[in-house]
């Protein structure tokens, strides 16, 4: 049987093309930065990763609230997908920052407030996925994932504002379009939108996989049966 085309691939392809263009601009077109030289090109990957990590985890927070209210498996799948993508972006962010720090500050890591809160963010959301794996059924998985996401999200605004609250750290303060050379705007924006689109694509794909797994579990548990909202096997609407 021929499968229908998954529409999220359009988002993925646009994201990929935009990332290719943004990286080409960042690596070969924009001038090297004062003081940092070629190393400054790391910014065009690091900064969009940071924006999107916080943005995707904010999406997870919204999905978590929605999932708690409507208890639909599709919301649980989307929530899990977005948390996984958020963890991926945060992990990349921390590693990129570490590689950036080596040539510029001569260190791989320091106990800077922004670095510490970003590492806590990574551990907290990895913990959300870990908590999820211990749940016994789909209903419990949804509740645990949503509640843990809401709790872990407390760190997101802290990560964002910490450079304002404790400005004497090694990490630079917030940048704005007015404080960044106009030569760099296009590459930064292209990479940021590209990473957002790729993040959305990956979230959709992961959600599809989870829903497919749920359906397969229901089928193997009892042919012709389906899972209820709590993940229990139902046969002709009666819980087993």
């Amino acid at each position: 049987m021929k499968r229908a085309f998954d529409k999220e691939h359009i988002i993925g392809v646009i994201g990929l093309l935009m990332l290719a263009y943004g990286c080409w601009k960042a690596l070969f077109v924009v001038p090297a930065m004062n003081h940092f030289g070629e190393v400054g090109r790391i910014f065009f990957m690091h900064v969009p990763t940071a924006w999107n990590a916080l943005l995707i985890l904010t999406g997870s927070f919204i999905l978590a609230i929605g999932a708690l209210f409507n208890r639909k498996p599709s919301w649980d799948a989307a929530l899990t997908g977005s948390v996984e993508v958020g963890v991926l972006y945060t992990a990349l962010l921390v590693v990129q920052g570490s590689i950036w720090a080596r040539p510029t500050f001569g260190i791989w890591w320091t106990w800077d407030p922004r670095l510490i809160t970003a590492a806590i963010l990574l551990i907290a959301f990895a913990g959300v996925l870990s908590a999820r794996s211990f749940a016994n059924n789909q209903g419990q998985r949804l509740r645990w994932t949503a509640v843990a996401t809401i709790v872990a999200y407390i760190d997101v605004p802290i990560v964002y504002f910490i450079v304002k609250w404790l400005p004497r750290g090694i990490h630079q303060p917030h940048s704005f379009p007015s404080t960044v050379s106009t030569d760099y705007h296009l590459a930064l924006r292209f990479n940021a939108i590209a990473m957002l689109l790729l993040g959305i694509w990956m979230t959709f794909r992961r959600a599809r996989w989870i829903l497919q797994q749920n359906a397969a579990t229901a089928m193997s548990a009892a042919p012709g049966a389906a899972l209820d909202a709590e993940g229990r096997t139902m046969v002709a609407g009666v819980e087993e």
């Binding site: 049987m1 499968r3 990286c23 690596l27 090297a32 004062n34 003081h35 940092f36 030289g37 070629e38 190393v39 400054g40 090109r41 790391i42 990957m45 690091h46 990763t49 996984e84 993508v85 991926l88 992990a91 990349l92 590693v95 990129q96 590689i99 950036w100 080596r102 040539p103 510029t104 500050f105 001569g106 790729l198 990956m202 794909r205 992961r206 599809r208 996989w209 497919q212 797994q213 359906a215 397969a216 089928m219 193997s220 042919p223």
Partner: protein
């Protein structure tokens, strides 16, 4: 005794006047540039890394050598991360779909 007391008070005053530290504090031009405080410490009109003469050897100033290897490391790692996760979910989804198709066929 009085002469001795006035001598004792005079000695620290003379020592302070002769101290180079005091002279430096009074004259910004003789101060060293601190390269990461956003202040023109030595009064030459150049702040931090812009003061190339005094800050070129400071770790965040000057052109960092061997920059491309760090750039390639970051871009390569990021692409590997995206591609690795995309491959993981694509394989997982395809496997789950195949299982479903096999189940349908078995029925």
């Amino acid at each position: 005794m009085k002469q001795l007391a006035s001598l004792l008070t005079l000695i620290p005053a003379l020592m302070m006047a002769a101290s180079p530290a005091v002279v430096m504090a009074e004259s910004p031009a003789d101060q060293r540039e601190v390269c990461d405080d956003d202040v023109d410490n030595d009064g030459d009109g150049l702040v931090d890394c812009d003061d190339i003469e005094n800050c070129s050897s400071f770790h965040t100033c000057g052109q960092i050598q061997g920059g491309w290897s760090w750039v390639i490391a970051v871009y390569g790692l990021s692409f590997a991360g995206f591609a690795g996760y995309a491959l993981y979910i694509t394989r997982g989804l395809n496997r789950a779909r195949k299982e479903e198709a096999d189940n349908d066929q078995a029925r």
